[in-house]
Symmetry: C2
Subunit: 355 residues, 2 copies
Amino acid sequence: MRHRSHALAAALALSCATLQAATPAKPATPEADATVLRETANALFAPVPATIETVRGQAITAAQVELGKSLWFEPRLSRSHVISCNTCHNVATGGADNVPTSIGHGWQKGPRNSPTVLNAVLNVAQFWDGRAADLKEQAKGPVQASVEMNNTPARVEATLRSIPGYVDAFTRAFPGEREPVNFENMARALEAFETTLVTPDSRFDRFLAGADSLDATELRGLSLFVDKGCSACHSGANIGGQAYYPFGVVERPGAQVLPAGDKGRFAVTQTASDEYVFRAAPLRNVALTAPYFHSGQVWDLRQAVAIMGSSQLGHELDASEVEAITRFLGTLSGRQPQVANPVLPASTSSTPRPE
Amino acid sequence: MRHRSHALAAALALSCATLQAATPAKPATPEADATVLRETANALFAPVPATIETVRGQAITAAQVELGKSLWFEPRLSRSHVISCNTCHNVATGGADNVPTSIGHGWQKGPRNSPTVLNAVLNVAQFWDGRAADLKEQAKGPVQASVEMNNTPARVEATLRSIPGYVDAFTRAFPGEREPVNFENMARALEAFETTLVTPDSRFDRFLAGADSLDATELRGLSLFVDKGCSACHSGANIGGQAYYPFGVVERPGAQVLPAGDKGRFAVTQTASDEYVFRAAPLRNVALTAPYFHSGQVWDLRQAVAIMGSSQLGHELDASEVEAITRFLGTLSGRQPQVANPVLPASTSSTPRPE
């Protein structure tokens, strides 16, 4: 499924097949027994892991995580010295900035809503269009983007090499390398830190594990989420983030929500069938990260649910269905990461100055 | 001394009187015995307290500190929802932003270098010109300044009242009040948190307490700092921040360092003798907070020391004197506060949106 777009029909068929396998006797309904619903849910979804130990098969070290945390909060990665990763992916506010599109260098606005960093390691690829294979590749983007941090790899390396505290930290994080302070290792360290930004232990995950942690409305919402077909695209541990789908497969939403100028994954693949195709949004902590969609134009999660119903599934969900699904989505907020602010090493006379 | 400007002559006389009282037998010299120097230093300076329990005679509560910490990192105090107190007074980087002047709403640049929040509670008053009597009054400024957070008290109150998590936190922090969520209490809570941002246990403070924590060059720097007259203005626990002095009392520095358009405390008092008068900069953690002076135009601490020598004292300090004083200033960096990032409560449908 990686890196391939799917028509919704195929996805729905897959979802239904999974469902039938999990619940051979009777399909889940809003009134379905919670035990049957739990079995169904465990077939479609998975809990967020409490810790992640490896990335691309390599162990993540404590020294890498510690360095990555410093870099995460490091405004000197930006040309202006005022924008850090955390500016737009704020760990205090659901891992995003909660504005329509991010504000970057020179108060320029980015083209798309900032995706949350929380549980991003669970996504099949990064960015709304999946143009980065993993968090390491992703991390190199905003540092260089002219509308974000507007920096260059050479300038980042000159900055980090001018600060003895960073030279030490890179040497500890990447032992045995001849010149450990480089742009690639900056990205690797950021990725290592980001793997710690997971949100386990949501009420939904406790339900998956067998607890009676959802109320009747939330259970109905989960049942509708499956029955109406939401889970065809929003599945797996991150309840989305696993594959690419057209936005507006049944009915294209208005231009404010789906601006004509942003053709999504088409820009990555140059394939006509990828026009207006985006990675299905991961829905973990979605209640914390308004506004919604790549355009960031919808502030109310209920409205977002209703738009998804009509545009993706051809269902005009009624108010009680929207409410139930929205309430279910609220159970996906997990334990937020506890992040201690780093103390960053001071600049020296050879550190490039802000511009 | 509060809120009064001093001519340097008076300040120097005071300093010499203090010195003579502390060291009646022989004046401190670069070769002075460390014990005598310690006595002198204890007469002029004081250690940074490890904790501060009260403000304006009132006890600070844990609930106020906790609320204040959330507000400190709260981007929704700004109209744009992207600027928090910590943006310009970053606890990770010496309590300042380490750029010449801060970047605020719409990428506007502020008129003066951002002062550090660390140990700011020890200053006689706040801002470079002392226009706020205390941290509570100070906190109201940047939230409203059009070039900073560009918000209004009414909008801040509407924002905080729309978020149940804040209503609860204000109620806990200010129990018994009929409407605890208000702009004044926002400022009180921020002040409560800021009183925790002190940096005790610097090497200099350990020296004051009797330890042999300074090397020979640093001891010489301390001795020069006193003998040359620096301590006339930079004294007390915060090594400055206690009174107001003209910048350029002996020789006015160039227009880049002292722009003609910023007349300092004159704007507060409208008194001719307050032209180009500023609060003596507190020098705790000064090695972490380049660039220097209210204009933020000097990046090298050595150069800042040399400018102070010529402009304030009429001394052309030689290179070894500048080096020794700079090395002494490096011993003023204390234990940086360990601040855990808060998890901020989510907005609701009635929260004002970013503009």
